[in-house]
Symmetry: C2
Subunit: 248 residues, 2 copies
């Protein structure tokens, strides 16, 4: 069953039954489903688990979704959960919590595809085709000076997956960077990020701080999530005329 | 200069100067820039050209953008332009004009990547890497029974480019279809289309009519265009708080 369908099933259950089913799911299945639920249901589900289990589930979520959920919890609960999470996962989430929810920094994922300056097309394709990478994230690779991790790698540029497919496997990715592409700043507000995606017809975009560090990447599905009303899985939007949705 | 930047230059010019520059641009350069301008400026620019030239420029535009522009012209002018366009291009645009602007049919492109049931991964990659295909359209290929054209091919299914990259070149695409993916209907309203993209984290989605014909594909950049206010290239959205943009 796809995560969206598991989420739909959970959404349609009475709250007590929902907590029972959540407890019975694997950590990663529950994490995937949580990402698709309205925020208030995420909060009530996570609060129904004991701290250890809740921390395990948060570790399995995309860091940007985990950060959005943690933002909605009481401060002491949030701090307890972050303390129980693996240090690596917790530090990704803590970094995202530094940015406003509706900014590029608050929407981004800290785990885009990052390559060194001497990486080849073959190296890039090997990372892009990995099953755990989403189609949106796979559509662009980023080149950095080491360390090849956010938020400390120095950003050099970005190359489109589709462009890489036109070249022999031994070609250097750094010779195929898109020179027209300005990175987003982590402080860029939602309105600027939406205009940016619409202007450049992008699927994913680099987020670079003022010291030229690549801090993450915003994917267009995260952008659409943030452009929609919070309860978009309900029926509220069906009641709106297209003009209202469009001119909101 | 990127189309978005040409559009920005045109946008910042006085109207009479703008018409002069438009006349001096190549058909395809002007078409690309038009796609990035607010609709009222598109209308005034197209109206400043003679019918022959205007028809040539419309032919170079993405059919969905051309349809959106034609919708805003007086009916007799629209009919004249459609008559002067190449029959193939005109019929794509006429088909799109049958659907409401804020529906899947009105937003879709009629030219996604379409393959026959016996196509291989190598066939699919050869089409996906073509320079004129956008990164979003390249991220998914559609399998149809012949004819392999919208709106008459019978839809069989869709496969993710990223998935294809995991298989040997001789594998049949039809063995790698995403069975979880329900197609959109051309009548699906904007609210439903946005929920669909947010739920499935998609970049492009098939649009199939009730006779199982693939009529086109909606890409997420077209969706973002339609979710934004019409004058999103102006500064209006900067004035809005994130909550207003988000809850519109």
């Amino acid at each position: 069953m796809a995560p969206a369908d598991v989420a739909r099933e959970l959404h349609d259950m009475p709250a007590n039954r929902r907590a029972e089913v959540a407890k019975a799911l694997d950590d990663d299945k529950l994490a995937d489903a949580l990402e698709e639920l309205p925020e208030e249901e995420q909060v009530s589900l996570i609060s129904a688990l004991d701290t250890e289990r809740a921390a395990d589930v948060l570790e399995e979520m995309d860091p940007d979704d985990a950060a959005d959920l943690i933002r909605d919890l009481p401060e002491d609960v949030a701090e307890q959960l972050l303390d129980r999470m693996e240090p690596d996962e917790a530090s990704d989430v803590r970094m995202l919590l530094n940015y406003a929810e509706f900014s590029a920094g608050g929407m981004m994922t800290p785990e885009p595809i990052i390559l060194a300056a001497d990486a080849t097309v073959a190296n890039a394709l090997a990372l892009a085709r990995a099953e755990e990478v989403t189609p949106a994230l796979a559509s662009m690779v980023f080149v950095c000076r080491p360390p090849l991790d956010t938020p400390s790698g120095r950003y050099i540029g970005a190359a489109h997956l589709q462009r890489l497919l036109r070249e022999p496997p031994s070609t250097l990715v750094s010779t195929m960077l898109d020179t027209n592409l300005e990175p987003l700043s982590p402080q860029s507000p939602l309105a600027e990020v939406s205009r940016y995606f619409a202007t450049y017809n992008l699927v994913v975009a680099p987020v670079v701080d003022d010291q030229q560090h690549l801090v993450g990447a915003v994917t267009v599905d995260d952008l659409v999530d943030h452009m929609l009303p919070d309860d978009w899985r309900g029926d509220q939007m069906d009641e709106l005329a297209p003009e209202q949705v469009n001119n909101g």
